[in-house]
Subunit: 911 residues, 2 copies
């Protein structure tokens, strides 16, 4: 027996270790016995599979007798060099005795042999682990017994052949294909092409060869003692908890450290392959794809579970069983109801019929599409099976994303030509173009385009607005293309290492042999990160009544408000449709990138004097004002947070010399002057450079222009009866004097245009001679660590805070979002953290900074309004964190609004 192992050298990430000497180690269940552990979280003792069997035994469903070796036993095993707790051997013997008693068979009994399956079963589903050994307990003598008892030698020999192969593979670690090779050899020699055609004699040959292979590979004979087989299998399952695949799986799926080990289920075998009254199958209690209340499943007559999975024979639809085995069908469908009633959930089950006797081998919560999740939740609530809170909790918020975007038609034929990151969901077809300018031009001709670039930059923004989707060779999930795409609700596949883009020659090379040129059609699926050749048909999302119902329930319970990040009236309209309660972040700089404005912006940047700068700004002011008027009108009755200019000025200047020369001609400026100015403005670390409020403090005239545009726009639409609630937001602040200085600028402009601040605190404006036109708030982004630790100083003048968690994550970790991809992937692989901190808020670090800011801010200003407007605002886990932190709202891109609403509701329910 391979009982001892060297202690694992893998990192012990678990902060809380479970008690290592649990008692008992083994629990027994059958249709008549249900020995539940005394624990509030029996799943952490029995594992998911074990608990499912336990629950079914509790309601007397026909489960084959089973004993469950507990998860704490596995933990003990891991921590004690592969040994077991005291008394384990006796418990195991007792367990086998239980199985023998319940089945009336004997483990190793040549007359009536008890065979068992051995399966792993952690608290969560873990595909990476050792899964299953069937028919354990067979040896030359029990084989004979089985053969006689069933009167089916071929069946017995086939069982034995399978057992040797599975045990050899998963317990002894001999390559699967070694066994397959031997099997093929026998088949070839005998001129047989199908496993089912193998005769008993042929199977005997196979068995001989298998035993020789095992002897050869392991250096010892195949163990014939059933108890030895069982002990080896249990040890193998326990060890598989730390095999690389399993460890990766846990990392990738953010498995929390309290999920710490696997149970082993040792269950009496039942046989679906005992003839034409036997069968095996899988079923869902409702349709997992649509959510419809209909039985859904498939089965194979005269087969074992692995045959269904292998897909050699085509299974029958469950409804056909009504013909094949009507009584069993009736029993099974009745069980569906019992299961749903008991588990209050849509259930996925495995069953086996052994000579017309039905057994349920496994039951678990059924995986489902977003659409199905919504329908099932609403239906079950209406059926009285669950209440609204449980209905809300039953839906994975991220799954809603599928409902909000066009999808590839599941029936469509498609050829994948490249893969990349699923940067922004939705499927779309278009003709490829290679520059922002072309995108604008082609869109002007009414063409549908996909913008293909090595990477995108802020100057591409207008072209991005014209294209339907983006494909980039470089950049991660939070690259410029990805962020803009999610913001605009466009499809994006980013960072595709499968493609090579020649922007100059307008060529796209995909994989080894596909070359595309401008105008060729491709289809993107940004939900999965795939690129297809040509036009692939897509299906439009349905905003069904059930979806609306769920959203209504969510709104009833959630405490967080949900706003949107939107820069255009179109985005704002989309977001309102999705239920946004205001704009949490309007990035004014996006407005500057429009073709007619970038010119004025560049003029402003190139100005040598204040006067020139003011002149250029006045051109932009008119345009900004009309933008704001539209935005305010669209958001009638809701707050609109407008961030003052954020990026460094060099972002507005063209990068290429050719381009800059063209601009210089347009502007009637010497190209060298432009180049020199660009050079002077260039920065080593632009992320930490001359941007945001720093620009505003040094060039207050920019702020003056923006504030004038905001307040004048507000006054104009207010006169038309719009309920306008502007919130002016100061970005990139790290010192309270920055916001004081800019608040003075804002107040001064407000006095000039006759606005009046909505503050109860301090901002008296006794010199204001005009009547107040609109009320507004002044607040700041909190996106730098210093702003967090000095938030009390900021709260003296600021009426609201909005966490910019993108930048706060960058500075708290010291990561550049543009560069960190190189190591973040490796870090996730190594389990430094389980999820990219740019995707989900790092609660320990960034979250701690946020907590400090909330506490310090509210200590000074009790009614301080606090929100979040980083990318994290649309991440369900982060939304829950924001709820716990006591924020007032989250703001996310329009297409994430429903997700945030549901996540906020779930957070409130969980609390």
């Amino acid at each position: 027996m391979q009982k001892s192992t060297t202690k694992t050298s893998s990192p012990t990430v678990s902060p809380s270790k479970q008690e290592t000497t649990p008692s008992p180690s083994i629990y027994a269940f059958s249709q008549s016995v249900s020995q539940m552990p005394q624990s509030e979280t029996p799943k952490y003792i029995l594992g998911g599979k074990g608990l499912g069997l336990a629950e079914m035994s509790k309601i007397k469903l026909p489960v084959p007798p089973v004993i469950v070796v507990s998860i704490p036993t596995c933990t003990y095993f891991q921590e004690h060099d592969g040994t077991y707790p005291d008394g384990f051997e006796k418990e195991l013997n007792d367990g086998i005795a239980f199985l023998e008693k319940e089945t009336g068979k004997g483990f190793g009994d040549p007359q009536s042999p008890l065979l068992v399956s051995v399966r792993s079963g952690a608290a969560i589903s873990m595909p990476g682990m050792m899964d299953t050994v069937l028919n354990l307990g067979l040896n030359p003598s029990t084989l004979e017994g089985l053969s006689k008892k069933t009167g089916n030698p071929r069946f017995a020999w086939d069982c034995y052949r399978r057992f040797l192969q599975m045990f050899g593979d998963v317990v002894l670690g001999i390559e699967h294909h070694s066994f397959e090779g031997l099997l093929d050899e026998v088949k070839r020699k005998n001129g047989v092409s199908n496993d089912t055609e193998l005769s008993v004699e042929m199977l005997k040959t196979v068995v001989e060869k298998y035993r020789a292979l095992i002897q050869n590979e392991t250096g010892s004979a195949f163990p014939d003692d059933p108890m030895e087989q069982l002990n080896m299998a249990i040890g193998a399952v326990f060890k598989s908890w730390n095999n690389p695949r399993a460890v990766s799986y846990r990392r990738i799926n953010r498995v929390p450290p309290e999920i710490n080990g696997t149970a082993v289920n040792v269950q009496a075998m039942v046989f679906g392959n005992l003839g034409d009254t036997s069968a095996t199958g899988v079923a869902f209690t409702r349709n997992p794809s649509t959510g419809d209340k209909e039985f859904y499943g498939e089965y194979l007559m005269n087969a074992q579970g692995e045959d269904v999975v292998a897909g050699i024979r085509t299974p029958k639809h469950l409804s056909e069983m009504n013909t094949d085995l009507p009584e069993v069908y009736e029993e099974l469908t009745a069980i569906f109801g019992q299961l749903e009633e008991h588990f209050k959930d849509m259930i996925d089950l495995e069953f086996t019929i052994e000579e017309e006797k039905l057994y349920i081998l496994q039951a678990r919560s059924g995986k489902r599409t977003g659409k199905a999740a919504v329908k099932i939740a609403v239906d079950m609530e209406q059926e009285g099976l669950i209440d609204r809170k449980k209905a809300l909790l039953s839906i994975d918020p991220s799954a809603l994303d599928q409902l909000l975007h066009p999808m590839i038609d599941p029936k469509a034929e498609k050829q994948v030509i490249a893969k990349g990151l699923p940067a922004s969901p939705g499927a779309v077809s278009g003709q490829i173009v290679f520059s922002a300018i072309d995108a604008v031009e082609w869109a002007g001709q009414g063409k549908k385009t996909i913008l293909v670039r090595n990477e995108t930059s802020p100057e591409d923004i207008e072209g991005m607005n014209s294209a339907l989707g983006f494909l980039t060779a470089r950049g991660g999930m939070t690259s410029h293309a990805a962020v803009v795409a999610r913001g605009m609700g466009k499809s994006c596949v980013s960072g595709s290492s499968d493609i090579a883009v020649n922007e100059e020659k307008k060529l796209l090379h995909c994989g080894a042999d596909i070359d595309l040129k401008e105008g060729d059609w491709i289809t993107l699926d940004g939900s999965v990160g795939e690129v297809y050749l040509g036009k692939v048909s897509t299906v439009e999302p349905e905003m069904s009544g059930d979806f609306a119902t769920i959203m209504q329930w969510a709104d009833e319970v959630r405490e967080l408000r949900v706003r949107t990040n939107a820069d255009t009236p179109k985005d704002a309209a989309t977001a309102r449709k999705f239920g946004a309660e205001g704009i949490g972040l309007c990035r004014t700089e996006h407005m500057f990138f429009k073709e007619d404005r970038i010119f004025a912006m560049r003029e402003m940047i190139l100005s040598e004097t204040l006067e020139e700068r003011v002149k250029a700004l006045s051109t932009i002011e008119k345009m900004q004002q009309s933008d704001f008027e539209e935005l305010f009108t669209e958001m009638d009755g809701f707050p609109v947070t407008i961030r003052l200019l954020d990026p460094p000025l060099h972002e507005f200047l063209p990068h290429e010399d050719a381009e800059i020369e063209e601009i210089a001609r347009e502007m009637k400026v010497d190209a060298e002057v432009l180049k020199a100015r660009r050079e002077a403005l260039s920065e080593v670390n632009p992320m930490l450079g001359f941007r945001g409020c720093r620009l505003a403090v040094v060039y207050p005239e920019i702020t003056e222009m923006q504030v004038r545009a905001i307040l004048n726009a507000a006054a104009v639409v207010a006169k038309k009866g719009v309920d306008v609630r502007p919130e002016i937001e100061i970005p990139v602040t790290s010192h309270y004097r920055e916001v004081e200085i800019l608040t003075e600028v804002i107040k001064r402009v407000a006095d000039e245009v006759g606005g009046k601040e909505n503050s109860e605190s301090g901002h008296t404006d006794k010199n204001n001679k005009k009547s107040p036109a609109v009320t507004f708030k002044v607040g700041t982004m909190i996106e730098l660590p210093r702003a967090c630790v000095t938030a009390d100083e900021f709260a003296r003048t600021m009426e609201f805070f909005s966490f910019g968690t993108n930048d706060l994550t960058q500075t708290t970790f010291g990561y550049s979002r543009d560069d960190a991809g190189r190591f973040i992937t490796k870090y996730i692989e190594l389990g430094v953290y389980q999820v990219d901190p740019f995707q989900s808020i790092d609660e320990k670090g960034v979250g701690e900074m946020m907590l400090i800011a909330v506490e310090k801010g509210r200590a000074v200003r009790k009614d301080l309004e606090i929100g979040i407007c980083g990318e994290h605002g649309g991440d369900p886990k982060s939304v829950e964190f924001c709820h716990r932190l006591g924020l007032d709202y989250v703001s996310c891109s329009p297409y994430r609004v429903p997700i945030a609403r549901l996540a906020a509701a779930q957070a409130a329910v969980r609390e």
Copy 2:
């Protein structure tokens, strides 16, 4: 009267405002009266000048009667629109009555007119404010009285002329040159070239013209009423507190907000210009340049104070007074002793002799050179005047810097050809070279060079090591050139906008008309930021016995240990000479830049496989080991903290295409491959990129090599009897898993080479079969906000923390040190903060992060060793902060070590 002013619109930065209705507003002092305010900080009531007079009156020194309008009255004036507290008028009248009584003269009395001087006097010396109006109280009738009483009409008219001019200038705000122009006109018309040659008649003409000018400029006649004159002068002084020069001065000199207003000293005039038994002068009680105990000063017979300042006549040395006025001389020198005895300090005083009667007009602590400060402190302690603590506090730590570097010979002739930032102190002459390669080559020929560049980069490091000083056109006080220079103890003038450098053509253009070429001689003075043409002679520093005494006293009281940042044995030796107690930061990457290593380093970076990388690393390993051996030997008995590789890899690749092609030829690699690799490694924000522990986690083989080199070096020197104490430091950490992963790597290598860790906590190494060779510690830089807020997690494995406050300041503020110059200067101008946070620790923000880290770290590991190794480690104010924070040590560049020792001592004494 200009009594009311509009309320100032300047920011109110003062968090603590003083009580605004003080009583009394005015205090009176004379040789017989001393009306001290009831306050623990009389300086904040009377100002520095007023307090000096008050103190002197207390010990009955001959001060002319004076009344002091208090600082709180000024504060009231500022906060109440230029009005005075109740009862002020009466107090002022009483004050004038006091002056009249003490002098026996009358204010405005035509027979025996009392004239007064009006001077500002804040709690600190404030050159930016209105300074002095003399002879106030004169008008046509008192002028006659003065004339008669003194029998000296010319004197009287000259006083009047001066009064009109000073009052017109400083109170009425008429340009000084307008008065000078009129004076010149009269002199020209009368063929007179010297003021002293002006006759009474000519002076009358001047007075007429002055009065007309004043009428013309202000629209009203010059005020003849002495009380009106006085009120106007007091108001002008108060207003001058907020004039732009004064506001700038306070900002630049970090004047704390509790210094909030100025006093006004109204003092009876005494005249040094009443003839040959009158005189005026300034004196120091000891030599302020050398510190020698000798009378030091100068005086002018028959003159007023302004004549001494104006420098028209050459004053006599104080010793000559023994001949001119022997009795007065005796009285004066006796007073020197009284002053030192009373003030326990070296005193700077102003005196006037009016017809053989001595008056002391002012006494204050005398400014002194670093050398004098040290000598005076030691002498006074030995004289029993002060104790050691006061001696230590009497020296400005920064002033020590002068003692540690060569200085320009004060007697040398020099021509300034450019100015820049005083980036690294010391004076040095050399021949200019324009590339690092040339610097190395010329140094090889035994030539002294100054490296002149637009800016320097890490690849210049070897050339920088060869040159004696650096001059750069770009970059601030914390630019690469500046930081390296301070680290190496070389002279550096950085960011000189006066020069244009053509590196290609090897030309240096200075100012308008000086062009220099390779090989021309220049002299840098990095202490003041000046560049001189040719060789200017310098004087070597003297490490006098007094210096050693002060250092010894400092060491007796300080609690902070002082280490040094040193990468080479030479630096380490210098630092030990200066008293460093170990190395707090050895930057291993500097070793990689040496010519013979950069090649191997580049090979490593270009490696495509682990094997290639390991091969290249093994070349470097041998070199690193021998470096460490030297360093350990040099630091025998002291800890040596060695930081693992910190910068991103692209820093090691050449920037220019020509250079990269050369390298490619050397390396026998296709230049395009090199370029592509450089491109692939380039980063948008390298500061936040793939560097430090991130490299180490992804490429553990680099860490393995470095740790092997460290531990093998330690073992080698330990065998030779060296007491070696290596501390391995992990840089750029933000997550505790990073240090856990790397600690495992370090442990593994240690086990391999037979080292053993010096940890009492957890790191058992039961598998270590070799005998321990050396003990070492493993710790981390704390330089990112996330490391601060999760310091408890780091302390579980880390044995020491070292604050990297450069990077911590960058990430806490969100500032790139390379780019922030553009707005930091403006921010300081605007008073956002008083000092560049890269120069002195920002206590509110960065300091708060440090506090969090210290508290969290020590909560987990009580004996956690904590130090600081950023540039701030040599800044006295930051050293004091580190002391308050309870750190164990500060580490700074070698030449800052004595400064840090003294600053640490002062912090301990102050506590």
